[in-house]
């Protein structure tokens, strides 16, 4: 277990590797959440413009 904040961030010099991996994960998952929502919004807008 890692006890203090600086140890959590630094992780004996390996912190950068771990945090970058977590960032990549969050970024790619974020894109996967954003894209279908954007697609649905686009269909709704198209529908609104066509007056359906």
């Amino acid at each position: 277990m890692i006890n203090n904040l600086s140890a959590i961030i630094y992780m004996d010099g390996n912190g950068l590797y771990v945090w970058v991996c977590l960032l990549v994960l969050i970024l790619i998952l974020g894109i996967n959440i954003y894209l279908p929502s954007r697609r649905l919004k686009k269909i709704y807008k198209e529908n609104k413009t066509n007056g359906l």
Binding site: M1, N14, Y17, C21, L29, N32, I33, P36, K48
Partner: protein, 243 residues
């Protein structure tokens, strides 16, 4: 559940719950693994990448197997929603495989001294990523969505041949990659303190996949059936009322 309107109706209620449960399980696994699991005596703290890398790699392979099952259903029984499921799952599978490749590469630098080696496990996982991109590309290149669904069903069924190669690559060839973390035939080589959070992470990733798949499938259904009456009634009019 096989009919798009029924699925849409059901998923409207289930999606918020699925989001909450998946975020909770995913967060528990991540916090437990990254902050509370013990430090590895050989690799130090860099081994904590395992809590991102291994679940992503498992999902990358599982999603293709799921797509192949849906592909079989599409080819044999021509169930409309199973074709949509393959299309919706492909981008998520590609994403998880990409995460596994990137995190594996980052993990490789401090442990192997290199970002990439052309060994069997890494190369076969890269081929898996190319299979996903081929499926996505093939589907978007065909205008007739019924034909596109059948084409990607066949590609998924053929592509599944890569899974046993990835799984056995560490046994069949000399490789820098460590043996599989999860095996059905033997007990885990990791300490329970490290293994338990990994299991929670894997469960969290599966739940996130279910959540993303539901979101993608809903968007795919609305896109393909936007001219049908049920979509106007159930989705588009409700959106208008919400505003």
């Amino acid at each position: 559940m096989g009919s798009p309107p029924l699925f849409f109706q059901w998923s409207s209620k289930a999606l918020p719950w699925l989001a909450i449960i998946s975020i909770i399980v995913f967060s528990i696994g991540m916090v437990w693994g990254i902050f509370y699991s013990p430090t590895d005596y050989k690799q130090g703290d860099v081994y904590r990448i395992i809590y991102i890398h291994v679940p992503s790699a498992i999902l990358g392979q599982s999603i293709l197997m799921f797509m192949a099952i849906c592909g079989f259903i599409t080819v044999v029984w021509r169930v409309k929603i199973s074709g949509m499921l393959i299309k919706s799952a492909a981008s998520i599978g590609a994403s998880f495989t990409l995460i596994a490749l990137i995190t594996g590469s980052i993990w490789g630098k401090p442990t192997w001294g290199t970002w990439w080696v052309w060994d069997a496990r890494l190369t076969s996982t890269l081929i898996l990523f190319f299979i996903y991109t081929a499926i996505i590309g093939l589907h978007s290149s065909l205008d007739d969505k019924t034909k596109a669904d059948r084409a990607i069903s066949i590609l998924s069924l053929v592509g599944i041949a890569i899974i046993p190669i990835i799984k056995k690559s560490v046994d069949w060839w000399y490789t820098l990659h460590q043996p599989s973390t999860f095996t059905l035939s033997s007990a885990p080589s990791m300490a329970p303190d490290m293994y338990q959070p990994l299991l929670v992470c894997v469960l969290g990733f599966y739940l996130i996949f279910a959540f993303l798949l539901t979101m993608n499938l809903r968007a795919e259904i609305v896109f393909r059936e936007k001219n049908k009456t049920w979509v106007s009634k159930q989705y588009l009019n409700r959106q208008k009322n919400d505003k």
